[in-house]
Subunit: 337 residues, 2 copies
């Protein structure tokens, strides 16, 4: 531990994102004088390793956040709504990965490559966007600055890790069951996910979109500071363990030839252009999984509009799509203080 | 066999589509007085069952097509280019599922629900479109007639069966290898397909699109009779055994409220609207596989344009996307004679 660093609490520590928080804090040598781990009563008593030391997970319901400077949290939205005000009252800043506060006009929704300045005006809570939104806006922002966004159409290919550890186990166990011709169990997804594709992530809204699709639309507008951005999203679950992919058609105000887009993206923070068709090189979930950057390729002209470009974007949804982005926000706060 | 029916030759009989030709001919009680099966020298001598009788596969190189009335073919494009003129010279009509003749202005490219009249003007060869194109135009055509197509953006989720039997085996063997922590082999696809997503189908064209994407654009325009249709496609392979899915954003000339689109599609031939979010009912590859119809769901407003609708389309790529569509073309010919 660092004697000078903040006291960091991780809420939802035993989940896939919670564990990723610990990995990312370690990897980035984030200064931490003490780490406290919290989860539901069910997981309390388990222990996780942070910087080679075992840390016992405590019951969130009993947390007083006394002396805690920073909370990195990734529980369900209802849990965040309950504990975050307590943590803030105790003097902590909460970087929350749930959807609880994202659209609250008083809560900044931050992707450090896009709107770092928003993090400054928080009142104790900063929201971490949805995974599929983060990798999209990291790529859209430099395109907007260079060419002006006019309309965006995105279709996603989302990994099961976005639905948590049990969902990953479900994909595996369904594959094993099918390969052994045994009956399979469906619990975490509405239908069989192994060797199938589900055009539903999260619940349905009244207008026929899913909440995941609504998140991409609303959160992208807020982060990019473009409340009227014309954007359409279709969110789809694919039988991939980790790493989200997105097919993106962008229409811009000014001409956006693929070479110019490639140049702009090559210079953009947090983006790796991986785009060499002759070498069959393009982003894939397998390539992006375990990596920090947002990978973009298949950059080509979309001739169906006057100024159009098509892109293929992949990122690790547990890292840049969740834990890494939250830690980057914490780094902004550390630098700002 | 039917004493009055045509003599039917199946070329590429041992492939996944070749076998599907036989299933579909049986199921639809297509009149056949004699069936002859052809494949490469490698597969000659194998036998397949048609209407409870074993039929020996012959070497295509030695076929004279003497007395053959109809050829249903699904070999590679170069094979079709070689054999089709011979078959036509011998008096047969060839319904060809390869890409060899599709864009030939003298060859009709037919989807019976869309442009059946085109089949009449053939000179011996009728081309069957690409799988991902067929299921798209079956849905776009009624929308065009009702509302006028302005622009289409499609991203596909394509099953491995579209790449043939060995590709299906590759997905399976990669899954087994991964689940047993053994090294896996990559032969049919450019990268690992198990638990991954590949934004490449077929080879790359000069403009950065893949040939599969170019096929969707060019073939859709030809079938719909809209040579200037504004359409953008991204073609993606997913680890699904059979059944292609497509996320489609349609912009129309006239208002296209989702209820009106649902009504139009419900009345369209070959289309099943499967769209009940409250019951978590929407098309999926698993649902469409083994079925004849094109399934459409997730019908909802695309508010990012003045008149827009978003759709999710699934079909069995071996049936409607290949064998069934070809047999339907043959049925048109039978009815017309």
């Amino acid at each position: 531990m660092d004697s000078t660093g903040p006291v960091v609490a991780v809420v939802g520590a035993t989940g896939v994102v919670g564990r990723e928080f610990l990995h990312v804090l370690e990897e980035r040598r984030f200064p931490v004088s003490e780490v406290r781990l919290y989860a539901s009563g069910r997981s309390a008593g388990e222990s996780l390793v942070f910087r080679s030391r075992e840390v016992v997970v405590q019951n969130l319901a009993q947390a007083d956040f006394d002396g805690v400077d920073l909370v990195l949290s990734s529980p369900g939205a209802s849990v965040s709504r309950e504990f975050a005000p307590r943590a803030v009252a105790a003097g902590a800043v909460v970087v929350d990965n749930s959807s609880a506060f994202r659209m609250d006009p008083d809560v900044p929704l931050v992707v450090p490559e896009v709107n770092p300045e928003a993090a400054r005006s928080h009142h104790g809570v900063i929201a971490n966007p949805n995974c599929s939104t983060i990798q999209l806006v990291v790529v859209l922002w430099p395109i907007h600055r260079a060419f002006g966004l006019k309309r965006v159409v995105v279709s996603t290919y989302q990994a099961v890790s976005g639905a948590g550890r049990k969902a990953m186990e479900e994909l595996m166990s369904q594959c094993v069951a099918l390969l052994n011709q045994r009956p399979l169990r469906i619990e975490r997804f509405p239908h069989q996910i192994a060797f199938n594709v589900l055009p539903q992530i999260d619940v349905f809204e009244e207008d026929g979109s899913t909440r995941e699709e609504a998140k991409v639309v609303r959160e992208s507008r807020k982060i990019l500071g473009l409340p009227d951005l014309r954007i359409a999203a279709t969110a789809v679950r694919v039988p991939v363990m980790n790493g989200h992919a997105e097919s993106v058609n962008v229409e811009t105000e000014r001409p956006c030839p693929p070479e110019a887009v490639r140049e702009v993206l090559s210079a953009a923070p947090g983006v790796v252009v991986h785009d060499d068709p002759a070498e069959l090189a393009y982003p894939m979930p397998l390539l992006a999984s375990g990596r920090d950057e947002v990978f973009v390729g298949r950059i080509r002209k979309d001739g169906s509009v006057e100024n159009g470009v098509a892109l293929w974007v992949c990122a690790d949804n547990l890292r840049k799509g969740a834990a890494l982005n939250a830690v980057q926000i914490a780094e902004l706060l550390e630098r700002g203080s």
